[in-house]
Amino acid sequence: MPLEPSFIGRTYPPETTYEVGRAKIAEFARAIGDDNPLYRDVEAAKGAGYADVIAPPTFLTIINIRAINAVVEDPELGLDYDRMVHGDQRFVHHRPARAGDRLQVTVHIDDIFVRAGNDFLSVHADVATDEGEPVCTTYAQLVVRGEQS
């Protein structure tokens, strides 16, 4: 079943606020085998000019994927989640995310199209603090494999 093209331009406002914690940043850094002190040592982070420990460049995947999944699970969109794969992902950082940030994600559907029998869904998400300061813009393309592939 093709995706519903009238969803192009639709916006999904934030559902929750996610507070970035020092322990979560350290846990994420450990999971990717990264011992950079700016991820776990507050004094080192302050010495580099940051208010608190900063997050790795892909850390916001934690809230990005959850927000995107809330969109793709919208039954009216008609997306077969079991056939969906992540085609690409990009993060544009307005400043590094850091411990103490209270972040909200707004997801936008930019495009829906069919190519070679597969459905493509392009989305971007604005990640901002609960006071409205932009932190990151994420871009993703999701691919729903056609029945033939």
Partner: protein, 132 residues
């Protein structure tokens, strides 16, 4: 920083242990990344690594080189092939290399990253824009 500069490379043995750890840290619990029965049922050869984990490891090549990860202003990849992770102690060996591809007038540079598993690239158009 000059065009053509090569960054120190990185080789990672991605194991099932790391997939479980990354699943918990990233809150991505899709069973294709830890459940062999499920993965093969949906047509995969075996459990595969999270694409976002491979992306994060590629990012390490850049942040290890910069020292300050806050200098990464943009980072994007295409997921072109899965990294299949066997249930053994060695896991899947993924090899990352990177080089400076462009130095821009605005004080930023573009770094192109290559990720290889089993002799083939697994990330496409993997690029970071960094403050030089």
């Amino acid at each position: 920083m000059n065009v053509g500069d090569e960054l120190p490379g990185l080789t990672v043995q991605v194991t099932r242990d790391q997939l479980v750890r990354y699943a918990g840290a990233s809150l991505d619990f899709n069973p294709i990344h830890w459940n062999e029965r499920f993965a093969t049922e949906v047509g995969l050869p075996n459990v595969i690594a999270h694409g976002m984990l491979t992306m994060a490891l590629g990012g390490r090549v850049v942040t290890d080189w910069l020292g300050d990860p806050g200098r990464v202003v943009e980072y994007g990849v295409r997921f072109t092939r899965p990294v299949v992770v066997p249930d053994d102690d060695e896991g899947a060996e993924v090899e990352f290399t990177a080089k400076v591809a462009e130095v821009r007038d605005d004080g930023t540079a573009r770094v192109d990253i290559t990720a290889k598993f089993d002799g083939k690239t697994v990330l496409g158009k993997a690029q970071a824009i960094v403050r030089a």
